[in-house]
């Protein structure tokens, strides 16, 4: 009998298959079928972006953030990369019986401060308690509505060969921070999650030269690039040496046999930008605190295949495939 495994939720190939086989088949409609980070809806003459996300992170408090900050950033960022200014959020919590009142207060205050940073309001919500064992401490769902920027013209159809791929900062910080906190690995280095709302960064660079954006969360940069190249039907070429990765994150990955390019980020954006606008976007991005280590990591090529290729640090070349299943620590 086929069962749901953790791999179905890892954001990799199995997740995509499940979405196609179950959800698109049953819910399919023009807004959903695009499978964007947000759906676009026209209401009263205004173009709105609408999205939702659930947060089940363990541990709920980690260096650089907590489940509350994550719940705001995640939804806000999905709106941002859709070219929208986030305005209103909903927030629903499912809490396990016996959860600490003070912990819930801490999470609530964290949601408040993340909302202030992002300039959004929680305008509706829900609160449920389930029996002990019915949930793992606390689950949060948020959904958000935003107004599409007037100067945004994001559409995959506009992407051409030669367009540059910009990454706003270091890869893999969030997943590395969670991994360290979760497994209590005896590492002296502290790795902080990059978890942050991106609306400030995105609004500071938004221009017509930006053709597409996505936040490389679950499945990491490699998965995001694969999604883009598959949807485009064009190859993407990147250079390993130009992808910024914190040395502490690299060290952790080397030891555990993980690849930072497959590790989740919660405060990064990948932008595909016309060659003429690339330097301008890069300069503006560098001025924003969340974009200081941004860089051009590669480009869209003219080859039609829909794969991601990477020139390795030592000058070899390889395919950068989609994440398959979970990354599991290796034996030796």
């Amino acid at each position: 009998m086929k069962k749901i495994t953790l791999s179905h939720g890892s954001g990799g190939r199995l997740t995509h298959e499940l979405i196609r086989e179950l959800f698109l088949k049953n819910f399919g409609n023009p807004s959903l079928d695009k499978l964007g980070d947000s759906a676009f809806i026209d209401m009263a003459g205004k173009k709105l972006a609408y999205t939702t996300d659930s947060f089940v992170v363990r541990p709920i408090f980690f260096p650089g953030g907590d489940i509350g900050r994550l719940a705001v950033s995640g939804t806000v960022n999905d709106l941002c990369v859709s070219g929208a200014r986030p305005r209103y959020l909903s927030c629903a919590m499912i809490v396990e019986e016996g959860f600490g009142y003070d912990e819930l207060r801490k999470i609530t205050v964290s949601i408040k401060s993340a909302c202030e940073q992002a300039g959004v309001d929680v305008v509706t919500g829900d609160f449920k308690v389930v029996e002990k064992g019915g949930a793992d401490k606390i689950f949060i769902n948020t959904s958000g509505v935003g107004e599409v920027y007037k100067n945004a013209d994001l559409s995959m159809d506009r992407i051409r060969p030669g367009d540059k791929i910009i990454l706003s900062g270091t890869a893999g910080d969030h997943a590395a921070s969670i991994l360290l906190a979760r497994e209590d690995l005896k590492f002296r280095a502290r790795i902080f999650s990059d978890c942050a709302p991106l609306n400030g960064l995105v609004s500071s660079v938004m221009c017509r030269g930006i053709k597409f954006m996505r936040d490389p969360t679950r499945g990491g940069l490699a998965t995001t690039l694969n999604e883009i190249s598959a949807a485009l039907g064009r190859d993407i070429f990147i250079e390993e040496a130009s992808i910024p990765v914190r040395s502490s994150v690299r060290a952790l990955c080397e030891i555990l046999g993980f690849d930072p390019l497959y590790m989740a980020n919660e405060g990064k954006v990948v932008a595909i930008v016309s060659p003429e606008s690339a330097m301008g976007v890069l300069n503006k991005m560098k001025k924003h605190p969340l974009g200081r280590s941004c860089g051009i990591i590669g480009e869209v090529t003219g080859d039609k295949g829909g794969g991601v290729y990477m020139k390795t640090r030592i000058g070899g070349a390889r395919i950068l495939d989609m994440l398959t299943g979970e990354q599991l620590p290796r034996i030796c």
């Binding site: 070899g316 395919i319 299943g325 599991l328 290796r330």
Partner: protein
């Protein structure tokens, strides 16, 4: 990152690749086997094949511990997880290996399987949960065996009585001997494993290089290590030598790690062992000594009887021996993928099929 970036230097890599090309001229086609799965992974991850002349053919060897673990071991491990009070603790890569009917990953859903990062995590979990019986799946070569042996001594010292090891441990040299003998593979050089050699030293390869006239170079895992080791193999062939050379001298000593070897022999003894796809190889496995039988899950628990069904169409055995490449398998990339592996070589990130699938397709 210090001590890593130095071994991934672009310019030096290019220079060594150039030297390999010029020294390999006139050799004709040669087959080198990288024995260890970590080498296979590094070769693919850094795109090393594309830096070598076409005449040099790298064959992936049997050095992925997950891949060579036979199916009935998995079936028994799943059976162990089914015993009341038993929790099976394992390294992550074992979870997806297909048994006859299930995988440990599927059993994890029932809460009886736990992923650990080290054998000590498993032992600590046992100490904290005295009402449970923790069985650690002892998989791996000489690299991991000493740590498992140490944990067993420690468990005894700390009087942790609910920690057990189910040993599927193997040692590498007998398998290399078998491969060296096989004319179909025709190996002309071995890239010997790095960390296995850190434990066993350089001695165990001497017999292989002498008996079969095959050059052996112990190689580190970084791309420059691998390139330099390939260059050393090419130079040996060119000058008609077949010796054991140690490229990984910054870690591997001639005599190996005596302390680790002594520890291993206190707890384990060599015996015949089945390798997936390769059959039973004499003196290639490690079973728990009598003195430690109270920690030996194979003795303490009545191992479930399992009926193991052979894999139909899977050529993992030939892939592990280097006779076939993953592409020669009719399941590869079709019914056998990393999400849904049929053979063990597709499961572990270090397996030849998974490496092929991920980096080359």
């Amino acid at each position: 990152m210090k001590y890593v970036d130095e071994f991934r230097n672009f310019k030096i890599a290019r220079d060594i690749a150039g030297a390999i090309s010029s020294h390999a001229r006139g050799l004709g086609g040669v087959n080198f086997m990288e024995v260890c799965g970590t080498h296979t992974m590094a070769v693919e991850r850094f795109g090393i094949r594309r830096m070598l002349p076409r005449d040099i053919n790298l064959i992936s060897g049997p050095g992925c511990p997950v891949c060579v673990t036979p199916k009935d071991y998995i079936d028994r491990a799943i059976g162990l997880a089914g015993i009341k009070d038993v929790t099976v603790a394992s390294f992550g890569d074992m979870l997806k290996v297909p048994g006859s009917d299930s995988t440990l990953a599927q059993e994890r859903g029932k809460g009886k399987v736990r992923v650990v990062y080290s054998v000590l995590d498993a032992m600590d979990f046992a100490a904290k949960n005295p009402d449970k019986k923790i069985v650690f799946l002892g998989i791996g070569f000489e690299t991991t065996v000493p740590t498992v042996a140490a944990s067993m001594e420690l468990a005894r010292k700390r009087k942790i009585r609910n920690f057990f090891v189910y040993s599927g441990h193997k040692v590498m040299p007998p398998a290399m001997d078998l491969l060296a003998r096989d004319k179909r593979i025709n190996i002309q050089g071995f890239l010997c494993p790095a960390h296995v050699s850190a434990v066993i030293g350089t001695g165990p390869y001497a017999g292989i290089s002498k008996k079969y006239k095959i050059p052996c170079v112990i190689s580190g895992f970084e791309p420059l290590d691998i390139l330099q080791s390939i260059l050393m193999l090419v130079k040996q062939l060119k000058s008609g030598r077949s010796e054991v050379e140690n490229q990984y001298a910054r870690v591997v000593r001639r005599s190996g790690n005596r302390k680790a070897l002594a520890l291993m022999s206190r707890v384990f003894s060599e015996g015949d062992s089945e390798w997936r796809g390769m059959g039973i190889i004499p003196k290639s496995g490690l079973s728990v000594n009598k003195a430690y039988s109270d920690l030996d899950a194979g003795k303490v628990f009545r191992l479930p009887r399992v009926i193991t069904r052979p894999d139909k169409g899977c050529v993992c055995g030939e892939v592990l021996k280097g006779i076939k490449t993953p592409r020669d398998c009719r399941l590869f990339g079709k019914s056998c993928t990393p999400e849904n592996p049929r053979g063990a070589c597709m499961v572990s990130g270090e397996g030849a099929c998974a490496a092929y699938y991920r980096y080359r397709k």
